[in-house]
């Protein structure tokens, strides 16, 4: 399976509030609350780190989860957010990875 690269869209607003990452699409106003694992992936979505490496480094080493389960969940998470334009996904590194608009409370 080819590598996937993910980056946060610039067309979003995000904020860490009460320990939860909240993300809203500025395009269609869809609103997501990310759990801890999803937040870790979200934070690591820099456009040039492969998703498999993000899962290994930010999920498997930080949370008590089987690698295969972590990979599958990460794929689902990425697919869902990319459908709403919140994450950008590519099979090659994204040259202009966005930082997204993330505000911490």
């Amino acid at each position: 399976m080819s590598e996937r690269y993910i980056a946060r869209s610039t067309a979003i607003a995000a904020r860490l509030l009460g320990g939860e990452m909240m993300v809203m699409s500025a395009v269609d106003s869809t609103f997501f609350t990310l759990n801890e694992v999803a937040t870790a992936i979200w934070r690591a979505a820099d456009g040039y780190t492969p998703l498999s490496e993000i899962v290994a480094r930010s999920v498997c080493s930080e949370f008590d989860v089987e690698p295969e389960v972590a990979r599958r969940d990460a794929e689902q998470f990425v697919d869902e957010l990319s459908r709403h334009g919140i994450l950008l996904v590519s099979d090659h590194p994204l040259n202009n990875p966005s930082s997204g608009l993330v505000e911490s409370a």
């Binding site: 509030l17 009460g18 809203m24 500025a26 395009v27 106003s29 608009l101 505000e103 409370a105």
Partner: protein, 267 residues
């Protein structure tokens, strides 16, 4: 030929907006519609010329509301009106037939646009003042906004039964009365007070107040904020406003039996 213009300043949330028309009877209609919210026309924050057109098929379509920024101007349109507003110049123009409903919608939209840049918003919520503090009761249609408004005791001042006006100020947030009435068909009082609590309304078989998780509070707030513009920057501003509001003020779920005892828990 000289045409006489008639002016009226409608002041909601302490923000006077001057409306200018060449039809004296329409001005009188607005004075009646916004009784209690008519301010001085000396120092309006914004001005609108209202061009009245005869009712026609063009102005009676079912087109949904559409709001977008074009070349520095907000363009507002719905089946029954067309409007433009240049926020930098402070001027705009409304084209509609002589009815109070179209201009009411334009004013709501304009206020949402103004408030978005100031950290505030209009909210689908009843609001009322008790002992100098404002309480907001938010929810979708049928959740109990009209019911709880109808039940207000004598020591409570109703700000609105339908659309609450939330302004950011130096100490927190303020709720202001609005003339935007719901089923109660009663204008709110034109006064304001610092907000104490936002309640998410739910009818039930007992009276109780419960905490609401942060994410749910933000989600519920966003669901009930009035917002019309197809504009990414404004969506971000609204998102930020909702988050900051939830950080600043308690948001609680109020389940209530529809009788006056619900007010024993508030204040």
């Amino acid at each position: 030929m000289v045409t006489q213009s008639h002016e009226i300043a409608v002041e909601i949330g302490g923000m006077p907006i001057l409306l200018r028309t060449q039809d004296g009877s329409f001005r009188d209609l607005l004075a009646k519609r916004y009784a209690g919210f008519v301010g001085s026309s000396s120092y309006p924050r914004f001005e609108f010329d209202v061009d009245l057109v005869p009712p026609s098929a063009e102005m009676e379509s079912d087109e949904d509301v559409h709001v977008e920024m074009q070349e520095g101007e907000w363009r507002l349109r719905r089946g029954d009106f067309r409007a433009r507003w240049d926020p930098r110049a402070g001027r705009g123009r409304i084209r509609q037939s002589a009815n109070p409903y179209s201009i009411d919608s334009v004013l709501r939209i304009v206020h949402t646009l103004i408030l978005a840049r100031e950290g505030g918003f209009l909210l689908h919520a009843a609001s009322a003042v008790r002992s100098g503090r404002a309480f907001l009761f938010s929810g979708v249609s049928g959740s109990g906004k009209t019911t709880i408004s109808r039940l207000v005791p004598a020591d409570v001042t109703l700000l609105t039964d339908e659309v609450s006006y939330v302004r950011r100020d130096t100490d927190g947030y303020r709720a202001c009365g609005t003339p935007f009435a719901g089923e109660l068909a009663r204008l709110g009082e034109n006064c304001s007070a610092p907000i104490r609590t936002l309640f998410l309304l739910e009818k039930g078989c007992e009276n109780k107040i419960e905490p609401v998780a942060t994410a749910e509070a933000v989600r519920s707030l966003l669901r009930n904020i009035l917002f019309f513009a197809q504009d990414a920057e404004l969506v971000r501003l609204i998102f930020r406003s909702a988050c900051e509001f939830v950080e600043c003020l308690p948001v609680q779920r109020l389940t209530f039996v529809p009788d006056e005892r619900v007010w024993d828990m508030i204040g």
